[in-house]
Each structure stands twice: as structure tokens, then as C-alpha cells.
């Protein structure tokens, strides 16, 4: 059955992507499976200049989940374009660039730099990172700021703009609608929720930054609820993220109304997780004689 999915002006070979920050720059996984077979990979968040990231401790485990406060350590957009992107293209990997800045001006500069390269399918604007002091999540909570940012980056590039939602926005629906109106081609949801752990022996937070982004299987019900609500409220496609480890998890999100999904933290537990989910969806489609696009929104009340 047909696995291809349309996301705005972009065509994906299948609905399985990998989530930013959990898949490196994609190349690290080639030893495990052919990453080019995935719908796309989302890169680690790219900033205008390289970033060192936060002090350790950066990660901690929670029940069926984890916390991270990486602080967007990355090689910077220039090194990405010259060192990583050519290799990804050689290996036939479809690339979504996840980008981050603390000002609209810098978001635009990154978008302009990436526009000079071919082979970037879309830009995913990270307006929802909980782990940096400036920008990030403050953008993501505010519909007007998000709309303005979407419009500004869209004007700077022909590459489609996707905007990644923070689950902490007072109204995610308002933010997503504002992005849609401003020309975003898709909404990706969700980024992590802020959480923390405290070390009993040391009587201090485990993470050096105090709090970090909460991800993994235990995030799934919250992400699913948000995707379900968004799907009923916006017209552009939704790409779902949050605790997806298995084919069954992915199907829940597609039925909730997502057009595609991203595998995140699960890749740390099983580097082949995204590959297994892709094959699993394909098998499900064969067994039920459905195209992947037929799965979208099957559980939405309006469709019943």
C-alpha cells in the first residue's frame, strides 16, 4: 500500500521521522539501518553560531521517561551546511533542519543560510526549547510572536516552515492557528515539558540547570491529547512527537489526526526504533489494505 504522505508542499516517502536532538545529525545511525528509508530526520537544533551547551549534569532518568537540559549544544548552521549536509545528501537522507535562535533576526539569518543549500526539505522552528535562558519557550507561548516569526522566516526562504509547539503555551491551539495564518505549512507537536528531579543525598537538583525537558513513554498521553485537540482546530498537517516507541504508539497518533510522527527518546533505548515503526506501519497498512494517508484522523470524532 502507498506509504507516501503530503505535508504542505513537501512529499514524504512515509510518515516516520526522527525527533530533533535524539538522532544527532542522522549519520550516527547509518551503522544500524538505512536512514534514507525514513520519511525524514530532524537535525539537532541548529543555531547561527556553534553552542557549547549547558554544564553537566545534563540528563536524568524518571519513571518511564527522562529529563534533559542539553542547552542546544550544536555545531552551528555553517558547519552543518559544509560538514554534515553533503554527507546526508550523499546517503540519500531526507533532512528537516530544526533551527533555534533567541531573536527573529537570527532565525531569519539561519533560514537564509540554509536557503543557499539544496536538500533541506523543511525548516522546523524550535520555539519551544525549555533549556535555554533566552528565546525558546517564550516565543512558543505567545501567538503573536510566533506568527511574526513564522512570517519573517517564510519571507526569507522558499523552504517550507514547520513550527514546533511547546506544550506549556497557555493556548497551544491559539499559537498553532496563528502560525497557520502566518503561512506555516505544518505544526509539529510536542516539545518537552519542563520537569525536575532532586538528589536526596546532595539535597540539590540533579540537573545543573535545575530543570529540564521531560520526554519519553510517560509523555505520550499528554502529547496525544494535544495532537487530538490540534487536529480538530487547524487546517494544516500535524506531525506528532511525544513518547512514540512502537508501531502501536505511532498508530494512535495517526488516528488522532497526525499526518506523520517523530520518534524521539526511543532511539536511545533502541537505535532501530524508528526503522521498526516504519516497517510496522507498512505492515499494518498491508494487513488492513489502507494507504498510510488513510490512517490520518480515523479516531477523530468528526470522522465517525
Amino acid at each position: 500500500m502507498k506509504q507516501s504522505i503530503t505535508i504542505g508542499s513537501a512529499e514524504l516517502s512515509n510518515p516516520v521521522l526522527t525527533a530533533s536532538g535524539t538522532f544527532g545529525y542522522g549519520l550516527e545511525f547509518q551503522e544500524f539501518f538505512d536512514v534514507g528509508r525514513l520519511g525524514a530526520i530532524c537535525t539537532k537544533g541548529l543555531s547561527l553560531e556553534p553552542r557549547l551547551g549547558n554544564r553537566p549534569t545534563r540528563i536524568a532518568e524518571t519513571p518511564a521517561g527522562m529529563l534533559n537540559a542539553i542547552g542546544l549544544a550544536n555545531v552551528g548552521v555553517e558547519a552543518f551546511c559544509t560538514e554534515k549536509l553533503p554527507k546526508l545528501q550523499d546517503q540519500g537522507v531526507t533532512v528537516v533542519a530544526n533551527i533555534f535562535a533567541s531573536t527573529t533576526k537570527d532565525f531569519v539569518a539561519i533560514a537564509e543560510r540554509l536557503a543557499r543549500e539544496s536538500g533541506v526539505l523543511a525548516l522546523e522552528l524550535n520555539v519551544s526549547c525549555p533549556n535555554v535562558s533566552e528565546g525558546g519557550i517564550e516565543f512558543g507561548k505567545n501567538p503573536n510572536m510566533c506568527a511574526e516569526l513564522t512570517a519573517a522566516t517564510k519571507a526569507a526562504t522558499d523552504t517550507p516552515i514547520w513550527v514546533k509547539m511547546s506544550p506549556e503555551a497557555p493556548s497551544i491551539i491559539a499559537v498553532a492557528q496563528a502560525c497557520e495564518d502566518a503561512g506555516a505549512e505544518a505544526i509539529t507537536a510536542i516539545n518537552t515539558i519542563r520537569g525536575m528531579r532532586i538528589d536526596i543525598a546532595k539535597r540539590q537538583p540533579v540537573l545543573a540547570r535545575g530543570m529540564g525537558g521531560f520526554s519519553g513513554p510517560s509523555l505520550k498521553p499528554v502529547a496525544l491529547r494535544i495532537v487530538y485537540e490540534l487536529a480538530a482546530s487547524i487546517g494544516i498537517p500535524i506531525i506528532a512527537i511525544g513518547g512514540i516507541s512502537t508501531t502501536e504508539d505511532a498508530l494512535e497518533f495517526l488516528f488522532a489526526g497526525a499526518s506523520a510522527i517523530q520518534v524521539g527518546t526511543a532511539s536511545f533505548i533502541d537505535p532501530l526504533a524508528a526503522h521498526h515503526v516504519r516497517v510496522g506501519i507498512e505492515n499494518y497498512c498491508e494487513a488492513h489494505q489502507l494507504n498510510a494517508s488513510d490512517l490520518i484522523g480515523l479516531a477523530q470524532a468528526a470522522k465517525k
Binding site: 535524539t22 551547551g53 553537566p56 545534563r58 540528563i59 536524568a60 527518546t265 532511539s267 536511545f268
Partner: protein, 256 residues
């Protein structure tokens, strides 16, 4: 090259208070070298504990072994694992101990469970016809797993903080008296011990390799969860740039 395999536990041997040696039946296991590690978790863990745990290879081959010390949930489960239980093993990961400099006498400085990658290294030296010196420190004589094994393949010196075995005190005491132009150090143990060893090595201009520990989620360079500060002011990532590093490159005073 790293590989993800599923392998049944062949044997678990309890070797004293809270220490266990786990042996896996893994005929398709890729070759591992001393100092490398694997990320491991039992299939039966489900979603919790979630992340695989980094463990050094105690030995490689098709029956790879690890030495574990019970710390928390994951290691507690490993300590009750039964033969036949399935584990996913991702390895070999990270940088190995470098080959020793020709003609130098290796001094292996171990603390507690940090002994595992050094036992593997001592075996490599033994195979090369070199007898290493091993300085092995623990709080008490209960904290010296595998010391008998080491005694049979190396020139072993033991220290305990309470004096219950060997010299009373820390490994740094005897280490000082052994340093000269013809030795080099390989160390793995608690951070404070390695920092002290690295400082002494630096002062006496003796080459020193250290195997680092950091919390890890992925083990192969993608989560960026395992940074350690270098003297250059940049981070290295323990899982790919280490765990074995030149001790002189590390900022042992950085708060980490």
C-alpha cells in the same frame, strides 16, 4: 563496529557485597577492546528503568562479561538477573585504552568497580608478555572485587581506607613512590581518585590515561548528555571522545 544484539545471560556470579559478574552468551558479539563499554538493559524491563546502562567490558569475545556494582534500580535488577534472561547489548562503544608506550612499565590505578576496564587491560598486557603493576584501592576489603584475579596476572598492591587489607590509606600514597621516567599510568575509579592521580601524574610528568564516567542516555554521541570539561574550555563527550582519555586534557576541577 558497534552493533545492537540480543543475548541471553549465561551466568551471574555474586563476588562479594553488591558486586556481580554477568556473562552473556553472544556468539554474534563484535570484538571489543579494553576500555570500551556497552549500553545494556534487559528486554523484560519494558519502559522502566527506561535507559540502557553503560558498563565497561570486563572481557570481550563471544562470551562478553561485565562487573556490576549495585547502585540503583538498573543495577539492582542486573544483580538478580537469572540465566536465560534476555539483554540487549549495544557495543562496543567508545575509545579504548591506547597501546602502552614501548618499554614503559604500566601502572594500573583502580578504585572500586573502576577495576573492570583495568582487568581487561591487564589481560591485554599479560598477552603481550608485560606484567603490569596494579594499585587497587577501596574503602574496606569488601570493596575490592576481582582482586584475586588481578593478583594472578599482575604485581598487585592493595590499599584500604580502614586498613582492613593491604596498606591503610589511599592509592596515591604508594603511587607517589613508584613514579619515575619509565612508568605510565592507566586509571579508572571514582572521580576524586582519578583527579588526585591525574594531578600527581601531571606534577611528576608521567603519562596518564583515565577512563571517565558520566550519566549517559544513548552511548554513541547523539543525546549530548555526557559532556566533561577539557582544559581547553570545550567539552568532550564521554561516550565517543572517551571513556579513555589523556588525563592531562581534562579539567579535573570543573564542577561536574
Amino acid at each position: 563496529m558497534k552493533k545492537l544484539i540480543t543475548a541471553p545471560l549465561l551466568d551471574r556470579e555474586e563476588i562479594g557485597a553488591g558486586y556481580h559478574v554477568l556473562t552473556f552468551d553472544a556468539p554474534d558479539s563484535p570484538a571489543a577492546a579494553p576500555g570500551q563499554f556497552l549500553m545494556m538493559r534487559a528486554t523484560s524491563w519494558g519502559d522502566a528503568p527506561l535507559l540502557p546502562r553503560p558498563m565497561s567490558y570486563l572481557s570481550g569475545g563471544d562470551k562478553p562479561q561485565v562487573l556490576i556494582k549495585v547502585i540503583g534500580e538498573g543495577t539492582a535488577r542486573m544483580a538478580t538477573a537469572q540465566p536465560g534472561e534476555e539483554y540487549s547489548l549495544l557495543g562496543p562503544l567508545g575509545k579504548t585504552w591506547p597501546e602502552s608506550t614501548l618499554g614503559k612499565t604500566p601502572i594500573l590505578v583502580a578504585g572500586g568497580v573502576g577495576v573492570a576496564p583495568l582487568v581487561f587491560l591487564a589481560r591485554r598486557f599479560q598477552a603481550q608478555g608485560v606484567q603490569p603493576v596494579v594499585l587497587y584501592g577501596g574503602r574496606t576489603d569488601q570493596d575490592l572485587p576481582l582482586s584475586d584475579l588481578l593478583d594472578s596476572i599482575a604485581d598487585l598492591h592493595v590499599t584500604t581506607e580502614d586498613g582492613s587489607r593491604g596498606d591503610k590509606g589511599r592509592v596515591t600514597g604508594p603511587l607517589m613512590s613508584m613514579l619515575n621516567d619509565s612508568v605510565e599510568i592507566f586509571t579508572c575509579g571514582p572521580d576524586r581518585m582519578m583527579a588526585a592521580v591525574a594531578t600527581i601524574a601531571q606534577e611528576r610528568q608521567v603519562p596518564c590515561q583515565a577512563s571517565l564516567e558520566a550519566p549517559m542516555a544513548c552511548g554513541f554521541g547523539v543525546c549530548l548528555g555526557c559532556p566533561v570539561m577539557k582544559t581547553s574550555g570545550e567539552y568532550l563527550y564521554t561516550c565517543v571522545d572517551g571513556p579513555c582519555v589523556n588525563a592531562a586534557d581534562i579539567d579535573w576541577n570543573a564542577d561536574q
